[in-house]
Symmetry: C2
Subunit: 181 residues, 2 copies
DNA sequence: CCTACCGATCGGTAGG
DNA sequence: CCTACCGATCGGTAGG
């Protein structure tokens, strides 16, 4: 059975999420997808080059089937937040955050992939919120929404406690409902 | 000049903060403190054993000169939150969060040190808040305060933007002031 | 897509 | 507190 690119990216994401950039090894990745390590290098030129597709896939999943210009912005906003929260709770850690913390300064491609990931995530939320808020307010609300969801992963990681995440999600949704004039 | 234990712990913390558990190497640590790697092992039996003192030192700094039973709880609460926020902004990353994400499952001493760190941090905040709130409410408020401060490190790390952290701090302090009857 | 290998580095230890 | 070393593993490559 052929090993697809997506299969490799999915497994790489799992490794980055669990072990961080430094802790994820190309040998582990090869074992997971059933290839020899050298064969990975026919698809990806380096470990660093895996970061961009890993985060691109995650963005795709987060915004799949979200119509940015529909006027049911509240439903879209709720859907995206719920997806993010569910992902962080089910998978325990946030790949993006783990990479933001762990990608070394001498991996510029990976660094900019991480920046782009969070910028796109935030911009996606801003675009939805713009239907109810002005630009400045939408930016603040989107930024703080990501702050509380990412921060809440802490308790999932260390105590296996999803309650802070659920509380954050509930508060964010309640806040958004109040925006509807 | 003798290399003190504290010097080693301080530098180990810097390495864990910057590179995470897996990315921090004992050789780097030895170079930083001016010892040969083997000499580190006369003080600490393993890399894993560094985690506990690193986090203990951080807790000490966070709660230094805070009198838990004074009735100026609001000043204490503000002081502790400001210290945490300043530390996270100045040093860019949170050691505790980086370790929470990165400590491997086969390092049980380190894992429990991380759990203990966040439990103690939260309990310290709860003890202060108990002067104004009941137990359940104090626990929720303390947990969510840590969530927003830790989450705000994201933007410090990736965009070098301290504003979400400042906003989180301001909101938490405003919230606390409202608790005063 | 493989076998086989590279130099570098990892955490940790022997022995003084 | 050092020199010198251990086996294991790292990211990556040569050559087919």
């Amino acid at each position: 059975m052929k090993t697809s690119l997506e299969q490799i990216v999915v497994e790489a994401r799992e490794l980055f999420r669990e072990h961080g950039y430094a802790g994820a090894s190309m040998q582990d990745l090869a074992d997971r997808v059933g290839l020899k390590k050298a064969s990975l290098y026919t698809r990806f030129p380096s470990k660093e080059a895996l970061v961009e597709p890993v985060l691109a896939l995650t963005l795709e999943e987060t915004f799949a089937d979200i119509e940015g210009d529909a006027d049911n912005w509240l439903a879209n906003y709720e859907a995206v937040l719920k997806r993010i929260a569910a992902e962080l709770t089910d998978r325990t850690r946030c790949v993006g955050l783990h990479l933001a913390y762990g990608v070394p300064a001498d991996a510029p491609q990976a660094l900019s992939a991480v920046q782009h990931y969070f910028a796109t995530l935030r911009n996606g939320l801003i675009a939805i919120l713009r239907h109810a808020l002005n630009a400045k307010r939408a930016a603040t609300v989107a930024t703080d929404a990501l702050v509380s969801l990412e921060g809440a992963t802490l308790w999932v990681v260390i105590e296996d406690d999803p309650q802070p995440m659920q509380r954050a999600l509930k508060n964010l949704i309640a806040e958004a409902r109040a925006f509807e004039a």
